[in-house]
């Protein structure tokens, strides 16, 4: 064990820090799930790409820097320290990217990865269906082979940012007679294909942050399939591992939240219930534990390990920690907690309310926490299946 950074890692950190300092927009951007916020976030992706920071872990040929996971964590730490904007292409770079790297053909990698790193193409994930949420294998959308094209039919739902995105990666049944996990293929689809309709769905904040996608005989080349026909489930589970396990919510994000929580506490401590003091301390510990656990996981992966069932542990931990931190912040804000930014007297209440509302989605997306607990109990602990 060696819990210090190498001089190279320190140098890397300094480089990221300097670049962020010079380039992160001064003003906070509107949420990337809104009409006003999407474009500036998209521009930011291009700015990142110019600095070659689009996706540091990818090989240089795809627009990355060939960084290892420790460097990635360092990058993320500096990214969040600098309060850089959220990644509007997170479903592309964090989920599809690593999946393409593992399962894509050389042509597919060359076609899609550089465009993703450059911030040119924004991606949406089109997996869930009205009747296939937790039970994703119940999906019914179909891709029927017609020569060298697939004809897509079906109805996807809850697809984040699909109203703005250019492409989606979807799961479709290529074998109409198949059931459950078999006969599903993983297909990349341009959202401007004729026969595709995208309708925004309003979230509880009133913004159309996700969408339903209707496929009505939309045609895409067979070459857009990732992996073999019928291998979609296996590929998707690898993607879900990245989503839950490592990339989607890196620890720096929560360490910054914990730090802000401490700052808020110091500002208003005299008006607070004394019990909050220990809760704030607990949140800092949780954020630290999460960061340490991620470094452990990164070290294991670098040494040849794989993300398995423990991705489910990660997902539960960060999502519940995030809700807790925001609840504590709202308690500190007390009578002002309910105010929107637009309130003339909102003062310095920050973005805790927005953050709280968003945190409530955490235990749902990327596989609900109930399902994650089932997975831990059954696959990690070996309890009998329910």
């Amino acid at each position: 064990m060696k819990l210090t950074y190498t001089p190279e890692q320190e140098a890397f950190r300094a480089e990221v820090r300097a670049w962020m300092k010079a380039n992160v927009p001064k003003e906070t951007l509107a949420s990337h799930d809104t009409v006003e916020g999407f474009t500036p976030h998209w521009e930011w992706e291009k700015t990142l790409a110019k600095g070659q920071w689009g996706m540091v872990t990818w090989p240089k040929e795809y627009g990355g820097r060939g960084c290892d996971l420790i460097q990635w964590l360092i990058f993320e730490e500096e990214y969040y320290r600098a309060q850089a904007p959220g990644r509007v292409n997170q479903n592309g770079i964090f989920l599809l990217g690593p999946t393409l790297m593992e399962f894509g053909s050389p042509e597919q990698k060359a076609r899609f990865l550089p465009a993703m790193a450059a911030g040119d193409e924004i991606w949406a994930q089109a997996w869930s269906e009205p009747q296939a949420g937790s039970d994703l294998a119940a999906l019914r959308s179909t891709a029927t082979r017609d020569g060298d094209e697939y004809v897509l039919r079906g109805h996807k739902i809850w697809s984040s940012r699909a109203v703005f995105a250019h492409w989606c990666f979807g799961m479709f049944r290529t074998d109409p007679k198949s059931e459950k996990h078999r006969g599903i293929s993983f297909i990349l689809v341009p959202l401007n294909t004729p026969g595709i309709r995208v309708n925004g769905i309003r979230q509880i904040d009133g913004e159309a942050g996700f969408a339903e996608i209707f496929f009505e005989d939309a045609r895409v080349p067979v070459a857009n399939r990732l992996g073999e026909e019928g291998d979609g489930w296996k590929i998707a589970m690898a993607t879900a591992g990245f989503e839950r396990g490592m990339m989607l919510r890196s620890p720096a994000r929560f360490q910054v939240t914990a730090e802000r929580l401490v700052e808020l506490y110091k500002k208003v401590a005299d008006k607070l219930d004394p019990g909050l003091r220990s809760q704030v301390a607990q949140m800092w510990m949780d954020a630290q534990s999460f960061a340490m656990s991620t470094y452990m996981m990164a070290s294991r992966l670098i040494n040849g390990g794989h993300i398995g069932v423990e991705a489910s542990l990660t997902k539960i931990f960060w999502s519940e920690m995030d809700v807790n931190m925001h609840r504590i912040a709202l308690q500190m804000l007390g009578v002002r907690a309910e105010l929107l930014h637009a309130a003339p007297d909102a003062g310095d209440i920050g973005s805790w309310l927005d953050g709280y509302i968003f945190s409530l989605a955490g235990p749902i997306y990327a596989g609900t926490n109930e399902i994650q607990r089932n997975i831990i109990a059954e696959r990690l602990l070996g309890l009998p299946r329910g």
Binding site: S134, I204, L330, G334, V335, E338, L339, P363, N374
Partner: protein
């Protein structure tokens, strides 16, 4: 000792529930929201026809002269419906405050209009920073160095402070206190403001009970209907336990709320601790139910389509109103640790008796 509501009290609550089920449906709320309206005069008139605005006004002012224990179930129903109109604050807080000052002719006049519901009254309590529903009130009861001032809405400037709950219409009120507006001096006012805070907390708690229960009902219905993996999601223990936990919290907030309603006018630390207990546990129950309600619905629960978010947002507002969690926790601790009030098994109810009939 009889800790139960009378048949009449329960009947009034049922009538209000029926009225609001009919008049304050999800579709009604959504229509108002889209139109940007904060108040439905037709529904307010229906509430007035039941005599609800003046339920606690004295008979001499045209009221029903009933007590907090008669109104608490009504407030619960208002929470259940996420009622946009300010009935609870008007009838439960403003009217009793006016009634305490009825000897003043100016107050009497406002009270008479308040009792019929013709003239709504809003309350500007210092614990709240802002005044809810000030724009649709005829008059405002305002705090100034513990004095009570009664001010016409025409004589104030209102600055809207948008809340996450668009039906909570909060305003900063700019106004000038004067001898003409003063209706109680600081000595008398101090007691009135203290009682107003307790009533505010009590009725916020009562609304939270109703909201929590409504969320559980919505989530239970969905859990029976929605299937995944070939079974109703409500058949999975994870979902069952979530919803059962909500119900436990609601049922153990309920007695404190009802006991507080029955004893609220009794001075002393026992009732103050009781009111705070009611507010803290009912807000927690509603907040927990709201988060659980979202979770049980999955992504659907995070969408605008499902009603749970109305209650989630109202609970966020009520959590901070009429004394936030910090204030009430500190008050309970102070009562328990420093006041010398009786503790232990013979001290379940303030003064040793429950006033509930």
């Amino acid at each position: 000792m009889d800790f139960s509501f009378s048949e009449e009290q329960q009947m009034v609550a049922q009538t209000v529930r029926d009225l609001l089920t009919d008049q304050c449906s999800s579709a009604d709320l959504r229509k108002m929201m889209t139109a940007g309206e904060g108040l439905d005069e037709a529904r307010w008139t229906k509430l007035c026809e039941m005599g609800l605005p003046g339920i606690m006004a004295p008979e001499e002012a045209g009221g029903l002269a009933l007590k907090d224990e008669d109104f608490v179930l009504v407030a619960e129903e208002c929470g259940r419906a996420a009622l946009p109109e300010p009935l609870v604050e008007h009838a439960g807080i403003a009217v009793p405050m006016l009634a305490a000052l009825i000897d003043n002719p100016a107050v009497r006049k406002v009270l008479e209009a308040a009792a019929t519901g013709e003239g709504r009254v809003a309350v500007g309590h210092p614990a709240n920073l802002f005044v809810d529903a000030a724009d649709t009130a005829a008059a405002l009861l305002l705090w100034h160095n513990d004095e009570v001032h009664l001010v016409s809405v025409d004589d104030v400037k209102l600055v809207r402070q948008p809340s996450i709950d668009s039906f909570r219409r909060l305003f900063r009120v700019e106004w000038m206190p004067s001898a003409k507006t003063k209706v109680a001096d600081a000595a008398k006012g101090k007691a009135l403001w203290a009682l107003a805070l307790d009533r505010g907390a009590l009725y916020a708690a009562a609304q939270c009970l109703g909201m929590g229960q409504r969320i559980v009902e919505i989530a239970v219905a969905y859990a029976k209907d929605r299937t995944q993996f070939g079974k109703a999601i409500g058949s999975y223990q994870a979902i069952k336990h979530h919803l059962a936990n909500c119900q436990v919290k609601i049922e153990y907030a309920r007695p404190a709320v009802y006991a507080a309603a029955a004893t609220i006018e009794t001075p002393g630390p026992e009732v103050r601790a009781l009111v705070s207990n009611a507010k803290l546990s009912a807000v927690e129950a509603a907040d927990f139910a709201a988060r659980t309600g979202v979770q049980v619905h999955g992504a659907m629960g995070y969408s605008w389509e499902v009603d749970v978010h109305f209650f989630l947002k109202r609970a966020l507002g009520l959590a901070g109103a009429w004394g936030d969690r910090n204030m009430h926790l500190a008050r309970v601790a102070d009562c328990v640790l420093n006041s010398g009030m009786p503790l232990g098994p013979a001290a379940t109810f303030p003064g040793g008796t429950a006033h509930a009939r």
